[in-house]
């Protein structure tokens, strides 16, 4: 419910509030209640004992290293039917590791334009489509390189700059391509 704290309080209500007094209970009930309560955890909390926790940590670490290696190997990304869809997946993976709000915003804009480009791709001739595909692949490799670099040297401002400028470059190219293909169609 929306309230407006700037409204003046009703004088009758203020008067009633002024008459209220804090009345403590006659007996302290807490010593009786406390021993009867079992420890409680929020719904969905998973309790792990030490051996289980260590095993889970090892699994997470292995999965993380494997995922990074997969991303760094450009040829490990399976080709998808659409240029824009493949490009979107690669860029999203790369940028997910960066966690920079500005880069995430760039990624969202890139995703939107890639969606538009995918719709127009069918109207393009094979030469143009292949040229676009190869160029977006090159940009995705540059983004993946820069993202890997940033993960390796998170405190290096230059690494962050590389990633941001690679994303900006892709956004510029997609703007040009979507504008051009819109005119074409």
């Amino acid at each position: 419910m929306a309230t407006n704290h700037d409204d003046p309080i009703d004088p009758r209500l203020a008067e009633a509030i002024a008459t209220l007094r804090d009345t403590p209970p006659s007996d302290d009930l807490w010593p009786e209640i406390a021993p009867r309560l079992a420890p409680r955890h929020p719904a969905g909390t998973l309790l792990l004992r030490w051996p289980t926790a260590i095993a889970a940590g090892l699994v997470i670490a292995t999965a993380s290293i494997g995922g990074t290696l997969l991303l760094l190997r450009g040829d490990a990304v399976a080709p998808a039917p659409s240029t824009a869809q493949a490009s979107l997946a690669t860029t999203a993976n790369a940028v997910a590791a960066a966690h920079t709000p500005a880069d995430q915003a760039l990624q969202r804009a890139i995703g939107e334009l890639e969606g538009r480009l995918a719709l127009a791709e069918g109207s393009l001739d094979a030469t143009t489509r292949d040229g676009i595909r190869a160029s977006l692949d090159a940009l995705d490799r540059a983004i993946a390189d820069a993202a890997a670099r940033q993960r390796a040297t998170p405190d290096d401002a230059r690494s962050a700059h590389y990633l941001t400028s690679a994303l900006q470059k892709k956004l510029e190219v997609l703007r040009t391509l979507t504008r051009r293909t819109a005119i074409r169609t």
């Binding site: 676009i132 190219v173 074409r184």
Partner: protein
């Protein structure tokens, strides 16, 4: 569309004569559109627009030239020197010769070739190549996505920019106040001179960058590379970064007269990561060179 500015039109027969001739006022805008037709534009000496292989419509101060849809021949067009020209083509090549006040060309996969151009020019293509030869103008901007950009003998008083995403950028005999040349996935080659008060930026993510400069160049070169190495044939002093400037392998000293060239500093086999500034001469021109994976070379012009 009503032809309100049409002063003269003549339909003439014969292969070498134009289909349509229109007299235009000075500074008129001309838009040329084509899907598959090739476009050949020549800048004439009179305020006259003539077209062979296409149609002209004039509305106010703007003339529109169209090639028939589905036609795949070549339109030959002569435009006035004072015109502002916009050319768009899908797959037809665009060839232009001469200087107009302003020129903008867009193609999807048609090649763009500009010879003897000038003024203010913007050339853009998605999958075509761009070639500019013998240009003298105020500014020149070339954007390609998948095609090679080549410039030769280009002089610009203002800004020159050349970019390709997936193909190389080759600039030869370039003189400009400001140059920006970049590629994501291929090499950037620049051969030309640097003005003492000029600004220059060269960038490639995955390709090499080669600058061929006069030995007497006066420039402050900021080099940044992640995985590429750097070599220079021009002797410079290091202003920041590693203690010793990496240089190319020195030539063996020439024999005779008891004088030998002093040994140059040793060459590091590879600089995996570098960010430094080298000063050539008085360090007047400002140059930045950025590479991620590719090598950077500074060569002496022969």
């Amino acid at each position: 569309m009503p032809a309100t500015f049409l002063l003269a039109a003549a339909a003439l027969s014969g292969v070498a004569t134009p289909d349509t001739v229109v007299r235009l006022r000075s500074g008129a805008s001309i838009e040329i559109h084509s899907a598959m037709c090739g476009i050949m534009v020549r800048v004439g000496t009179e305020e006259r627009l003539s077209v062979t292989g296409g149609s002209i419509e004039v509305d106010g101060g703007t003339a529109e030239v169209n090639c028939a849809w589905g036609q795949s021949s070549v339109m030959n067009i002569t435009v006035p020197p004072s015109s502002r020209l916009e050319v768009s083509s899908v797959s037809g090549a665009v060839t232009l010769n001469g200087v107009t006040e302003r020129l903008e060309v867009n193609t999807m996969n048609g090649a763009i070739r500009l010879t003897n151009g000038g003024g203010r020019t913007t050339l853009e293509t998605v999958a075509g190549t761009v070639t500019v030869t013998n240009y003298r103008g105020v500014s020149l901007a070339v954007d390609a996505v998948a095609g090679v950009v080549t410039m030769e003998d280009v002089e610009v008083t203002g800004r020159l920019s050349a970019e390709s995403i997936n193909a190389g950028v080759r600039l030869r005999g370039v003189r400009a106040q400001s140059v920006s040349a970049s590629s994501v996935n291929a090499s950037v080659d620049f051969a030309g001179s640097l003005r003492p008060d000029g600004n220059y930026a060269f960038e490639s993510h995955n390709g090499s960058i080669t600058l061929t400069l006069p030995g007497s160049t006066s420039a402050r070169l900021r080099v940044s590379s992640v995985m590429g190495d750097f070599e220079t044939e021009i002797q410079g002093t290091l202003a920041s970064g590693p203690r010793q400037a990496p240089t190319a392998t020195p030539e063996p000293p020439r024999p005779g007269r008891g004088r030998t060239t002093p040994p140059a500093p040793p060459v590091p086999p590879r600089l995996d990561e570098s960010d430094f500034t080298i000063v050539y001469g008085k360090g007047e021109a400002r140059v930045t060179v950025d590479s991620f994976n590719g090598p950077i070379r500074v060569k002496v012009a022969k």
